[in-house]
């Protein structure tokens, strides 16, 4: 059992959890993830490692499906049945010169650790974080602390620049030398934003989030096409060269279980109503 040490609501449906998992915390690097299973009947879901403190790791997630909704009902002191990690290859951290680390929505969760390791490797680190609106913007202070420069965008203009991270990125690429770019966010956001760097020939990494089961290269559920070859995101990634990724296929494969996911979520919502359990630990 893995204890939840701290559970905080960061924004609407967005939660920050610190989980005690020494074997993960001791070895975790930027770009890696965990897989957790809540209980005996639970599914295995991957979540990016967002930060590490002592024997605990932080995950940040949006409650959108059955498992994340159920996870969000846990409070500090509650336990998760299984946690395995760190999984996947760490980010390719080197001293490249100037690096840009971009997070979109809940994808911002992955950015502070990558930015921090890039900074420690000697890079000048520019952060760009974007969300739909000011309320959904997370980890601003943390990113400000680890980045040399930080830009903020919101889709509705309620904070920072009115627009998308890609707008800022394009401006930066026109103005100066950028050596590497990381983009983490929803698949469509990564596709659009990484498209910006193609004409500039800047190597760009994206962190892919296909459906996984074991997370150790055994099942092939997470296969993605990169540069015309099939790769397993869990062991060959999760970070890949954005310009080689078949995003259309990624998004298609993320929809395999849409029907079942809806059934599962509705069933869970009904169950919660019947039990009078609101899951309001965080409000």
């Amino acid at each position: 059992m893995y204890k939840v040490e701290l559970a905080t609501k960061l924004a609407d449906r967005v939660y920050e959890y610190w989980i005690r998992a020494p074997q993960v915390a001791q070895h975790a690097r930027a770009g890696q993830f965990i897989i957790l299973r809540l209980h005996e009947a639970g599914e295995r879901i991957p979540l990016t490692i967002s930060a590490v403190r002592g024997d605990t790791v932080r995950v940040i997630f949006m409650a959108v499906g059955k498992t994340t909704e159920e996870l969000a009902t846990l409070g500090a002191g509650d336990s998760i049945k299984d946690v395995v990690g760190p999984l996947g290859k760490p980010s390719e951290i080197e001293n490249y010169g100037t690096c840009c680390v971009i997070g979109g929505g809940v994808g911002i969760a992955s950015t502070p650790l990558i930015a921090k390791e890039l900074k420690e490797a000697g890079n000048h680190v520019i952060g760009i974080i974007g969300a739909r609106n000011a309320d959904l913007l997370i980890l601003e202070d943390e990113m400000r602390e680890v980045c040399d420069e930080l830009y903020i965008t919101t889709d509705d203009g309620s904070k920072g620049v009115h627009g998308f991270a890609s707008d800022i990125l394009k401006k930066l690429l026109d103005e100066r030398q950028i050596d590497r770019v990381w983009i983490i966010g929803p698949a469509i956001m990564m596709k659009v934003t990484s498209g910006v760097t193609i004409p500039y020939g800047v190597k760009t990494y994206v962190s892919l989030n296909p459906i996984m089961v074991d997370g150790t290269g055994m099942c092939g559920s997470c296969r993605v096409t990169v540069g015309g070859e099939t790769k397993f995101a869990c062991v060959d990634g999760p970070e890949f060269d954005a310009h080689q990724v078949d995003f259309a296929e990624l998004m298609q494969r993320q929809r395999i279980y849409t029907g079942q996911e809806k059934v599962s979520l509705e069933r869970f919502a009904e169950h919660r109503c019947r039990c009078g359990e609101g899951g309001h630990h965080h409000e």
Binding site: Q23, V24, H27, R37, A41, G42, E43, R44, K66, T67, K81, D82, V83, V84, G85, P86, L87, V213, D214, T216, G217, M218, C219, G220, S221, R223, T225, T230, V235, E249, Q252, R253, R255, I256, Y257, Q260, E261, V263, S264, R267
Partner: protein
Amino acid sequence: MSDRPADVRIHDFKEVDCGLSPAEAIAEAERCLQCKKPLCVKGCPVCIDIPAFIREIADGNFPAAARALKEQNMLPAICGRVCPQETQCEGVCILGSKETPIRIGALERFVADRERENDPSLPETAKPTGKRVAVVGSGPAGLTAAAELARAGHAVTIFESLHEAGGVLTYGIPAFRLPKDVVKAEIDQVLALGVRLKKNHLAGRSVATDQLLGYDAVFLATGAGLPAFMGILGENLNGVYSANEFLTRVNLMHADAFPEFDTPVLHGARVAVIGGGNVAMDAARVARRLGAKVSLIYRRGEEEMPARKAEVGHAKEEGIEFLTCTNPTRILGEQCVTGIECVKMSLCGIDASGRPSPKPIEGSEFTLDVDMVIQAIGTSPNPLLVSLIPGLERGRKGNVVVDNDGRTSIPHVYAGGDIATGAATVIEAMGSAKKAAAAIDAMLKGE
């Protein structure tokens, strides 16, 4: 003893073979000639004293039979069910030339089941040696090595990346062939010898390689977990599975019981399974139990199928359609699978594996309407941990290179099971693990 009727069993995941009654077991055991030089023992990869345990059954002394079995094999209820006895112990039984061989597998299972339901006895363990051994992977090879080394008095820790132990016994082989409570009970017996099991520990990631190499000896049993895909068009369409994924979702994650269990699996109406091995039979029969009409596509003839004859028979009884001498050329569909294009094959000449070599017949292409495809064309050694250990010699297929006793290129690191041999059977993995465990024990005691 009998199989449950096919039209009944395809609606559940309960065991197909009901096993022997005590009277049937005794009658079968009494047929044994008790050969002075028993060929069956030579045919057994883990060298069970087969005449000895059969003699105890004939005498009605079932607990003694169990003790005799467990002297050489800590997983008898598993082996009794999944070993290919027809090519091993039973294949060489002297009675086979005149009548039918002794049903050694059924007897092994009978003894083990009976013991499990009554009072399991544990073999003795030697005094603690103070030596620490790390075993990576809790499949058949890992469990066997762990049991042998614990009995020799060493402190054994197994690292398992999944949330359940058992490896392929748990995620791969379906419950109707190997019930999960049987697997769990035999794993518990291994743990009762004092073996520590660390689940959710992926060696190389959750356990650093230098941490691992810090043990007095390491046994790598990470298996052949990497699924192969054919490399044909349409393979990443929604509805295409590796057998590993399909079976893991059902066997390990219980997707057949969705939404009681959270993991989903697609329920195809018409499913194509590609392959002719035991895994292909398992995948086809699971898909059948989820309600599909299943076609099994194999590029050679039925005679050449690597699957056990009994499993081929079971699959046919359950209504699986066999399309032999047929090979898929591409999977059709826009986003989801809607069909599969195949070509008929002719068998000509003999290839490197000693089997007839299949060649496509030009112009014989045809399509099948299917909404799901499961590829069961084999697996290769899991590269994750072994690629992270510097200096560990690997073969062309990614397997760890070992000598006859499981020694690798690193002095205190041994390997066995599919990671060393490539995909093979449960019992072959156990046999290689036993040899390696003996060598590890000798090394640790020689120091």
